[in-house]
């Protein structure tokens, strides 16, 4: 139940949601993200468990976990519509984020076309079960990849001034790369990889200790980094 907070980690813990929440007119709009993250995922698990139990009740030999057939045999076309709409609404902000990311690489490209092409590629990819059936593991992996950066963003925005340090330090000092953030990210990933590989911890659970490791590292490394790199502009 607690780890429902870590579902779709790339979006929430990894702060990808900020790409959409930048349009929020009030800070409490983020509650929508929190509700989707915890309540939504928690209920989704319950619903998935009930659907799976029903499938086993109908045919004990059918142990496949396929969202479409699971929903269809329990709720008919309504179930299929739910799966399609759930996939569509989840994919919308993600395609938008992917469009923004590609546009960051090619700044002169039209966001409209780049988002459309990204969505097209994702749709074609989604037609191949060999890829989509590995989504769960992939989602866990890219959630893990983004988690340390989410911790860095959180600490940089909310906590770092309390330690006598400055936030957005790369921007203030005119540096193109914040080594404290970069090192916190890489070291956390290495530790997380070690925990999964050698300590037998599941990839879904490694992000909880990982978040605190990244946050602590970022603060510790910032103490050193901010002493060495002097600001190019005066503090605002």
């Amino acid at each position: 139940m607690f780890f429902a907070w870590f579902c779709n980690m790339a979006m929430h813990i990894g702060m990808s949601d900020l790409s959409v929440l930048r349009f929020a007119k009030k800070s409490w709009y983020a509650v929508a993200s929190g509700a989707g993250m915890f309540l939504g995922h928690y209920l989704a698990w319950l619903a998935a468990a009930i659907l799976y139990a029903f499938q086993l009740h109908q045919d004990p030999s059918n142990t496949k976990v396929l969202p479409g057939p699971l929903a269809y045999q329990a709720a008919g076309l309504t179930g299929l519509i739910c799966v399609i709409i759930a996939g569509w609404t989840t994919a919308n902000p993600t395609i938008y984020r992917a469009g923004l990311a590609f546009q960051a690489i090619v700044p002169k490209a039209s966001r409209f076309w780049i988002t459309l092409i990204t969505g097209g590629i994702a749709t074609v990819t989604g037609m191949f079960p060999a890829i989509t059936m590995k989504l769960l593991g992939f989602v866990a992996l890219y959630g893990l990849l983004l988690m340390p950066m989410g911790a860095v963003i959180f600490v940089d925005f909310w906590l770092i001034r309390k330690f006598g340090l400055q936030s957005s330090y790369a921007e203030r000092s005119g540096a193109t790369f914040n080594w404290a953030a970069g090192a916190a990210w890489l070291v956390t990933l290495a530790v997380a990889w070690g925990l999964v590989k050698y300590a037998g911890l599941q990839i879904f659970f490694v992000s909880l200790p990982g978040w605190f490791i990244a946050a602590t590292l970022y603060i510790g490394l910032s103490v050193v980094y901010q002493k060495k790199v002097r600001p190019a502009v005066a503090e605002v």
Partner: protein, 57 residues
């Protein structure tokens, strides 16, 4: 008009949930439940969309 849309939309949500509860209680066949849920889904989108749609920009 808006009041009618709200009433129809809320009733469609009730009609969407009720068949599954009746099926669980053994009071309804699965096929009947599926058809009622499909009908309720269509009604929800027909009534709920104009109710909740908000023109922006």
């Amino acid at each position: 008009m808006r009041t009618i849309l709200i009433i129809v939309a809320v009733l469609s949500l009730v009609a969407l949930m009720l068949p599954s509860i009746l099926f669980l209680a053994g009071r309804m066949e699965l096929d009947t439940a599926k058809w009622i849920m499909l009908l309720a889904t269509v009604v929800w989108f027909a009534a709920g969309t104009p109710w909740l749609w908000k023109q922006t920009g």
